[in-house]
């Protein structure tokens, strides 16, 4: 208890829990005698990761690149769309439902269409990563832009601020924490979108999704499938870690969500 409460031991509880889960994993496999082709043991996954490093490492970079481009376009595009939607009540009422509708289209349907439109390869995968991470940015940024504190808006009126000042000095900074929480969600989704796209399109060799297609067709390669899951997790951590760092840099001095000690 007292160790957990110490400031610098935030890493200890997850580490202990992780070790416990690993032990449970081994125990389950051993007790129920689960064969490797159903559930490989953790050390077999690590071994597969090492064995296939020459394929997995470039694939992770490739997938990460597609996800990154899609993510960046989604963040920029999402922010611009949100600013447009928030600029007029009419525009938001007219367009927001349609943004939602587009979001409802399953990736499985998008993939073949994008492959036809953008051809197989990086561009269609990037487009999928974009589509899947676009909406959270739009939704949370729009929310942030339209929920500007009324009192602060009136203050700006009393202080005779111009419309431009109101946008850049009040509405945008006020929406920043909302925007960043949308970006955080987008960061978790973009790599998932890219891998799903690669898997479903099956047209981009040297990518994690494509390797997954190959490995899963061989029952002996279950540890490799798990190794891909591990690499995908690491990729996701890189994305989310980068955004969390950016969020901390921008907000820790003034916003409750980034207070130290959380």
């Amino acid at each position: 208890m007292s160790i957990v409460r110490q400031k610098n031991s935030w890493w200890l509880p997850p580490l202990v829990a992780g070790a416990g889960l690993l032990a449970l994993w081994y125990a389950v496999v051993a007790i129920f005698k689960i064969p490797t082709y159903l559930l490989p043991m953790p050390h077999e996954v690590i071994a597969a990761l090492w064995r296939e490093r020459a394929a997995l490492f470039p694939a992770a970079l490739h997938t990460g690149g597609s996800a990154l481009v899609g993510f960046l376009v989604a963040v920029l595009g999402g922010a611009l769309v949100a600013i447009t939607l928030a600029s007029s009540r009419w525009l938001k009422a007219a367009l927001y439902p349609w943004v939602l509708v587009v979001q409802m289209i399953p990736v499985v349907v998008l993939v073949p269409v994008f492959v036809i439109w953008f051809h197989a390869g990086l561009r269609s995968i990037t487009a999928i990563a974009f589509m899947i991470s676009f909406f959270p940015v739009v939704a949370s940024t729009t929310m942030g832009l339209i929920s500007t504190d009324r009192g602060l808006l009136e203050l700006f009126t009393v202080l005779e601020a111009t419309k431009t000042q109101e946008i850049f000095r009040l509405r945008l900074p006020y929406a920043l924490p909302y925007f960043l929480s949308g970006v955080k969600i987008a960061a978790t989704l973009a790599p998932i979108g890219a891998i799903s796209g690669e898997f479903l399109a099956g047209t981009t060799p040297d990518s994690l999704g494509y390797l997954l297609l190959i490995y899963r067709s061989d029952p002996g390669k279950m540890p490799e499938v798990f190794a891909i899951a591990l690499v995908a997790c690491l990729l996701g951590f890189v994305f989310v870690g980068a955004v969390r760092w950016l969020s901390w840099v921008l907000l820790h001095q003034w916003h409750e969500s980034e207070r130290s000690g959380e």
Binding site: G151, L152, L155, E160, R169, P173
Partner: protein, 257 residues
């Protein structure tokens, strides 16, 4: 601190009615001389806050007119400052930056104004907290920032909408005393909305008691005690008598139809 003078205010048959609603204010006529400190008290729904918003030009009147130094509120915005119920600080700016906000929004930030910001921070006792962010400040400190920001504009007319209502009594009393101390240095006319009769009597030279449905002036009590008033005045018989009188008048307006 300022070469500017306090504003005179005139309300002529002022009325306010929101669309499809009953009249919030009806036929309010009032003049305030420069340096008047007018406290507005009355039951909930008597239009105190609406009256203040009309003075600030935040909402247009439905009838009658508001003039400040003979001009409409919207034309003399730079002459007035508004202190809201909430401190309304920008959370991403430090204390100093928040106080400077009116300058930052203005066209220039001349160097000589920096000395003025520093002086104001000192006056409201916030110099040690100048580089802190609002979330690090107590409620009373936030209100002091709000006060300093309002005074930076050297307003001829200061409008205060229950600014200290959320604070504990000790902090509130201290801020009341500080406000009067600041009034000695910056000449302004003030309209102060409050629910607290004792606060109204302590601060103002005129207590206006409003009645509701529709909002109107039901009575006025003159407080002739000289400024600057200090905490000691609160102990005086004179003060207690005025609080009792104002409370009685307020009770009568509650009984009004």
């Amino acid at each position: 601190m300022s070469a500017l003078r306090a504003a005179s205010v005139a309300l002529e048959s002022l009325g306010k009615r929101f669309p499809q609603g009953p009249a919030v204010l009806a036929n309010v006529t009032l003049t305030a001389q420069p340096r008047d400190f007018v406290a507005l008290i009355g039951p909930s729904g008597c239009g105190k806050t609406t009256l203040l918003r009309l003075l600030a030009g935040l909402t247009p009147p439905s009838a009658g007119a508001v003039t400040i130094d003979g001009l409409l509120a919207a034309e003399v915005r730079e002459r007035l400052a508004f202190i809201f119920q909430e401190p309304t600080l920008l959370p991403w700016l430090t204390t100093r930056q928040n106080v400077e906000l009116p300058l930052r929004l203005g066209k220039k930030l001349p160097d000589k104004q920096n000395g003025q910001v520093q002086e104001l921070l000192k006056l409201v006792g916030l110099e040690p907290a100048a580089e802190q962010y609002p979330r690090q400040l107590s409620g009373g400190m936030k209100m002091r920032v709000s006060l300093a920001r309002a005074l930076l504009r050297q307003p001829g007319l200061l409008l205060l909408d229950e600014p200290f209502a959320a604070l504990d009594e000790m902090t509130r009393n201290r801020l009341n005393e500080d406000l009067l101390r600041l009034r000695e240095q910056t000449p302004f006319t003030a309209f102060f909305v409050t629910h607290s009769v004792s606060e109204a009597v302590f601060l103002s030279n005129r207590v206006l008691v409003l009645a509701a449905n529709p909002g109107r002036i039901a009575g006025e009590i003159a407080v002739s005690a000289p400024y600057p008033r200090t905490a000691e005045w609160r102990e005086s018989v004179d003060y207690q008598r005025l609080v009792t009188r104002a409370t009685a008048m307020l009770r009568q307006t509650h009984a009004m139809p």
